[in-house]
Assembly symmetry: C2
Homo-oligomer: 344 residues x 2
């Protein structure tokens, strides 16, 4: 089959790889029908050292089950399924606590023996625990929105939950990528009254407003902090969603959080240490979040995607075929596209 491999920064190739097969009785093999490129894929795209071995890419996909192992009980060939960006057994204590990203039998896509999502098929370990069947056909009109259940919608939701968004609260969202935009949507869904998006790209802030943002702040750094304070009576936002992962973004997050407020961080940290430690201490800011247990949130979010209440698929502003994926990376890296959908 054909799949995406990254050999180094800027070097993405589509190549022939072995077809996946059932290795464990708890596996399924899924033929991928939709996949996408993630903002987090851009970190290695910018920095990965060149190597002879390519890394399999992609961790968000929807597909159709082709085969299941003997111990898979809840899924069967033909089912349309969505996969969260980490696989998990659904039975261990961490899964029961809703922390599927720490599952005792879990792991990441694109690791040895486990395929990446940006390819024609995937061996899915722990299929019963990992996959969620979708009550739609494989080419349903909702596919773009349903695909966000793999990662960006639950990740935005995780940011909002960890930033303790409450009905009537004031929220600031740092990052106008797909996750930040989904954070706006999640904050709105949780009842926030005021949602301030920090962004300066008109196409992105327009989607943010469509998703529920009430204010757009185009300033950055200290100026953004001053502007958000001005908008919030001088005190800052109760909840800050940090959807970038850069040092400066986190510094800004601490600056614009109201004393006693919370930062939900979901931007994969590109810094070794969290800055503004002293200011966060003085203001008693709670710093929560991390890698989002997407699987824990899919059942909660799915009905609202199916009935059209949530339309997160808007974050996809470009659709390509698999062979065009290298150009899709370039396009996202150069911020021509917010998020690229791969239609197989």
């Amino acid at each position: 089959m054909r799949a995406t491999l990254m050999y180094g920064a800027g070097d993405v190739r589509i190549e022939d790889v072995p077809d996946p097969q059932l290795l464990q009785p708890t596996d399924a093999v899924v033929r991928v029908t939709r996949s996408c490129i993630c903002g987090s894929d851009l970190w290695p795209y910018k920095t990965k050292k060149p190597g002879e071995q390519g890394a399999r890419m992609g961790h968000e996909f929807i597909g159709v089950i082709e085969d299941v192992g003997a111990e898979v009980t809840t899924l069967r060939p033909g089912d349309v399924v969505v996969a969260p960006f980490v696989y998990s057994d659904g039975t261990c204590d961490f899964c029961h606590e809703g922390l599927h990203t720490s599952c005792r039998s879990g792991g990441f896509w694109g690791t040895p023996d486990v395929d990446g999502g940006q390819g024609e098929a995937v061996r899915v370990p722990q299929a019963d625990g990992t996959l969620v069947a979708l009550p739609v056909g494989e080419d349903d009109a909702l596919m773009a929105s349903l695909l966000t259940l793999s990662d960006v919608l639950p990740t935005g939701h995780h940011a909002a939950v960890n930033a303790r968004v409450t009905p009537g609260g004031t929220v600031a969202v740092i990052g106008d990528g797909a996750v930040g935009l989904c954070g706006v949507l999640a904050a709105k869904r949780l009842g926030a009254e005021r949602i301030i998006i920090l962004g300066r790209h008109a196409d992105r802030t327009a989607i943010a407003e469509q998703f529920g943002a009430t204010d757009v702040v185009s300033e950055r750094g200290d100026e953004a902090v001053a502007r958000v304070k001005e908008l919030t009576g001088g005190d800052g936002a109760h909840s800050v969603l940090e959807c970038v992962g850069l040092d400066e973004a986190f510094t800004t997050a601490v600056g614009l959080a109201r004393p006693g407020g919370a930062i939900g961080r979901v931007g994969v940290p590109q810094y070794p240490a969290l800055p503004s430690s002293g200011l966060a201490f003085l203001k008693n800011i709670t710093i929560a979040g991390g890698i989002a247990p997407a699987r824990a949130y899919i059942e909660e979010l799915l009905p609202e995607v199916l009935d059209g209440t949530l339309q997160p698929g808007t974050v996809f502003d470009s659709t390509i075929g698999l062979e065009a994926v290298p150009d899709g990376y370039r396009s996202m890296e150069e911020r021509e596209s917010i998020k690229v959908l791969i239609d197989f």
Copy 2:
């Protein structure tokens, strides 16, 4: 009157200063009867640059009201009162939310026009909001325990609350100073089943065990992490109380927190950035806490101090007079004393 001034690292002097007077109608003047030296006083004692102007020291005290301003309604001369380590009006939105450390009219002791607690008397701004009357005589046998209500007991409690200590939970406490020991007491009070203290001084760990610690870990750093994981079935502690404020202590805290767990940090941070950002992200560790709103907790903790359920006064292992305070600093710095009480 006589009061403590710090002129630089290692240079603490007792000198004559002006007697405090009412400056605002919301003030009270308190004659100090008990005070103490705080672990946080040791940071400037180690690092303060020499200066011609001495800094007034002390932020924990009990005393008797000598005079009140015209707008003070709840207190009168003769009342025995305890002061939290930050003054606050008790009426603003932050105070109503329990975040008295962010009070809109609040501030710190030992700042211009506001006396420090390590002196014979103090002008107390916002007296109605700040002071809590104690139903005891000024030389009551409970004085040592009552004095911990100024800072170390509520600070330990703040660490436990922010580390989300719950009945049956597993707790690790980093720091065997007075705050760490009070953290053990607070965790026990909140129902923790297992409380692991990291410490290597027998006198301190003995108090920790008396306060409810079930295990003592004398290792540090990675070895401490390994040992705590061994004690907790491999996963680490649900709740970690970081009562030191050093980089290495925070790194250890992240290491020994269970995935999905929480760190309550109350050690005044001596680092500009919180280390182990990536590991905390991967484990979804919540980092909460900061400067403790002691005033918010005094009413909750006071009854249990008065009836002897809590005996935090044990952390004072030395009692001195005011003129001996410079030696008290030396004694705490050299870890001869855990915490020094000043009896006037």
